[in-house]
């Protein structure tokens, strides 16, 4: 049944649209300004000179190209951390949905109970534990905690329960395929939208992580983008620090572009992943 479109409702919902967009528009406009231009022009309009390309070049080369180093660190954390989280959540969710195994109820209770404990409340004890083990100030300190995504496990579990017919697995077993081959050949393709969804959300969590690297890392050479940007911003308040708000703003824009693109390009996958496997009772 086709419904009549409503202009009034569109305009009203448009207020939320504008609210969501204004800061992003502000960021794009101000990434085109020089440091003096930032100070003496109106925030939501362009300054006289268009300095976007200069800003991008300066962001990438400032302080011997430390921004590029931070970008590569972030990519490392995302590929190993979020990639690993996706694999672990997919395997685990599949097990919970499709197998009956001794201790399953206990696993449930422990995972759900632990999820209720605020993640950042764990951060300080995790730091102390990691420093005893000599892991702090290494990439592992950021990667290992990123490997666990309870939300991802939950999403994969509900998704796998619906997406994989039990008869299909049984048929494969009758044909003599072993469990792992069955999983790779038959189940993984069926789970694809769920996997993309979990991967995207794990990627956002890792790319945007701030608290964990903040406590774990001292050496700026291992910083991800988020910590680096905040350090640049803090330069303005340190005595004798170089004020580079134009680079903070351009760096912020460069930081968010890859994620926004990933979400836009993979829309079809993650929206169906959320809708079928997603959150319902």
């Amino acid at each position: 049944m086709r419904r009549r479109r409503s202009l009034l409702l569109t305009v009203l919902t448009g207020i939320m649209l504008i609210y969501s967009l204004v800061p992003l528009v502000w960021l794009i406009i101000n990434a085109t300004k020089t440091q003096p231009g930032l100070l003496d022009s109106f925030g939501l309009w362009f300054a006289g000179d268009f300095a976007l390309w200069d800003n991008i070049r300066d962001t990438l080369t400032y302080n011997n190209g430390v921004f590029v180093r931070w970008l590569l660190n972030t990519l490392l954390y995302v590929i190993v951390g979020a990639g690993g989280a996706t694999i672990l959540a997919t395997l685990g969710g599949y097990a919970l949905a499709k197998f009956d195994f001794p201790g399953k109820r206990g696993v449930f209770a422990i995972v759900i109970g632990a999820v209720a404990v605020p993640g950042t409340a764990l951060a300080v004890p995790t730091f102390l534990m990691f420093s005893k083990l000599g892991l702090t100030n290494t990439p592992w300190a950021v990667i290992i905690p990123s490997l666990i995504s309870p939300f991802g496990l939950y999403l994969m579990w509900t998704f796998a329960a619906e997406a994989i017919p039990g008869e299909l697995m049984e048929a494969a077993r009758v044909d003599g395929a072993n469990e792992f081959r069955t999983f790779l050949r038959i189940c993984v393709p069926l789970l694809a939208p769920g996997i993309v969804t979990v991967a995207l959300f794990a990627m956002v969590a890792t790319w945007n992580n701030y608290f964990l690297p903040l406590i774990m890392l001292k050496d700026p050479d291992w910083y991800p983008l988020t910590l680096g940007l905040n350090e640049w911003n803090d330069q303005a308040t340190t005595a004798g620090g170089d004020v580079i708000f134009n680079l903070v703003i351009t760096g912020s824009l460069l930081t968010i572009l890859p994620l926004l693109l990933a979400f836009l390009l993979l829309q079809r996958y993650w929206q169906s992943g959320l809708a079928t496997g997603g959150v319902k009772d």
Partner: protein
């Protein structure tokens, strides 16, 4: 098909559980252990019993931090979830022009790191080259400073709302998608109004999603850290080291080296979060009956 009960499942869930034990269970156990000891410059580490807990429960700084996030919770979370629900219902109604554009755009801020979101809003709030400064100058207004003590919590609430309204909208929207369309058609034949359909069909159908979003938001509020920590450099006198419980635990550890007490604060806050989340869940499930 009867599912065989076997150990095969463990091969698949084992890796998750091993890492989970290392990054979730071990730190919880370690925090509990730490909270029972005290470390002094002279005398070293000794068993303290429940001394740290007594201190936390009577610590005015801890309670002012906990009170602040509780206030944040009761004001910001309902506003955010209500807005998210309105947008989800509007998109689901099929009456919008450019529905897909709305869905993606409102969701986009979720992909923006908290650091970038806070820096952006912080710049816009600022008097130097912020929008508030601009508006005051060009229109001759005297808008209040969003970074002043009276408005800081509301300003943080605005940043958090901006970041997560789209995420919650998507949770609600996904849940609305699985409501069978035939229910709406039946209601329409019966002459039910749109509001009636929302109240009697849509809201009950997405109760589970509403509950999950509420509990995630409660946990998120109690963990508030990134936004105040980053705004601290803009307003060091407003955001104290004990502005939120997490900031307090962080300062105790990293500027104060009081690891034992910091672990205790983290545990007490974790227990408070679990209690509140559980109470909300209990209330929600009781209403059902």
């Amino acid at each position: 098909m009867a599912r065989r009960r076997s150990w095969t499942g463990w091969a698949f869930i084992g890796p998750f559980l091993a890492v989970f034990a290392f990054v979730f269970l071990a730190p919880i156990a370690y925090a509990l252990y730490l909270s029972l000891f005290r470390t002094r410059l002279i005398g070293g580490t000794s068993f303290a019993g429940l001394e740290n807990y007594e201190r936390a429960l009577t610590d005015p700084q801890f309670w002012s931090a906990a009170g602040r996030v509780a206030l944040f919770l009761v004001v910001q979370v309902p506003i955010m979830l209500f807005l998210a629900l309105l947008v989800a219902l509007a998109i689901d109604s099929g009456r919008l022009y450019g529905k897909a554009f709305f869905r993606v755009t409102v969701f986009m801020p979720y992909a923006v790191p908290a650091v970038v979101a806070t820096l952006m809003w912080g710049f816009m709030y600022g008097s130097q080259f912020g929008l508030v400064g601009n508006l005051n100058e060009s229109l001759g207004l005297s808008l209040p400073d969003p970074l002043s003590p009276g408005l800081m919590l509301a300003s943080i609430g605005n940043i958090v709302t901006w970041e997560f309204v789209g995420y919650n909208m998507l949770i609600f929207y996904s849940a609305l998608q699985v409501v069978p369309r035939s229910l709406y058609e039946a209601a329409e034949i019966d002459g039910a109004s749109q509001l009636r359909v929302i109240r009697s069909i849509k809201l009950p159908a997405i109760r589970g999603a509403l509950l999950i979003a509420t509990i995630f938001s409660i946990i998120g509020s109690f963990q508030l850290f990134n936004e105040p920590a980053i705004l601290q450099s803009l307003a060091p006198n407003v955001i104290t080291t004990f502005y939120t419980p997490n900031l307090y635990a962080y300062s105790l550890s990293f500027s104060g080296q009081q690891y034992n007490y910091s672990a205790t604060v983290a545990i007490v806050m974790g227990v408070l979060t679990v209690i509140v989340a559980y109470a909300v869940q209990l209330r929600a499930t009781r209403k059902e009956r």
